[in-house]
Symmetry: C2
Subunit: 219 residues, 2 copies
Amino acid sequence: MPRTRVEVYEEIFKDHNEVAGRVLEALEARGCGMVNVLGSPGAGKTSFLVALIRALAPLPCSVVEGDLESDIDAVALRKLGIDAHQINTHGTCHLDAIQVEALLPAIPAAARAVFIENVGNLICPVSFWLGEKARVLVASTTEGSDKPHKYPPAFAGSDLVVVNKVDLAEVMEFDRAFFERGLRAANPKARIVYVSSKHGTGIPEAAAIVRELLARKPA
Amino acid sequence: MPRTRVEVYEEIFKDHNEVAGRVLEALEARGCGMVNVLGSPGAGKTSFLVALIRALAPLPCSVVEGDLESDIDAVALRKLGIDAHQINTHGTCHLDAIQVEALLPAIPAAARAVFIENVGNLICPVSFWLGEKARVLVASTTEGSDKPHKYPPAFAGSDLVVVNKVDLAEVMEFDRAFFERGLRAANPKARIVYVSSKHGTGIPEAAAIVRELLARKPA
């Protein structure tokens, strides 16, 4: 009997989630937890990670950079003394657990947190669990306040929503109430922090929440 | 013999491109041309379209809005007196030609240009020709100057690259030379215009190029 589209998807995701489960276990065994960071192109995921990792110091952190092409972000992070690894997807719109598992031997044994900077895309990466303990969505005031209304799955699946570039909120006429209404409709539980990665606003609060998320027992 | 992944993709795209070809022909027969507008979430595609359509007046234009959920943009356009139609993809990361063909009867016969505002995504919509005569990529200074380096296919496939929010270029430390180096590496031929949809900067120039693109013979 031919399989339905839903059955085929379920089979693909079952295999994929087994790999992600192995990634989670391998990191747990080292006393390390992973955070999957999602967001649109240009939301400021890299700048946020730099500010966050500085605030988490002296916690040993590694970063995995996902991009279609280029190693711009990994090179920039290494120049700042941050352990960074690049995955190029060459056209694919998300990272998968197979790519992350293949990279595990390169992550230093001392690392206690691994941050995945996923491909800039507010849609496709949402469907792929990579073995992370927590998911952080980086939005930005410059993208406008309607994003949770237009892209609910990305917001629904996140533990923490970081609204970056808060220093530009006024000039961008960012409407916090409208943004939060959309966020709450998609996700009543997510934590939310307004940050400026450039000026440090909100970073200590975001770091405290990330520490909490990393300390959770895996579901 | 089982088909390879490439063969399966080729078959899917062959069927899809046939539908897109019908859309192109149906619109040509009415004296109308379609422009596919791509860009990241929050690049300012809708604001650009409003400014563009005003600059193209009295040309009768219609807009097709693609979003996962919500009709925020279509409602906003209609309030401004612009003919607008909403497609909700309910989770899918791009529009396809089947959706556009189904909408054609709703487009007024008087329309001479149809602008598709694709789902906000700098990756997936690139692969789907919808029957458009031209493709416009809306980037923005607030996304940073590295986007053509990181997402080359979106830039490679565009006839016109609009860099929006140029009024924020200075505060965002937008690096034009670096942006244009990346663009030229991906696409030596694309036209480029820096605009502020909010203040009208560059809009007459963008409108002149769109008129030219609409007047082209289809390839």
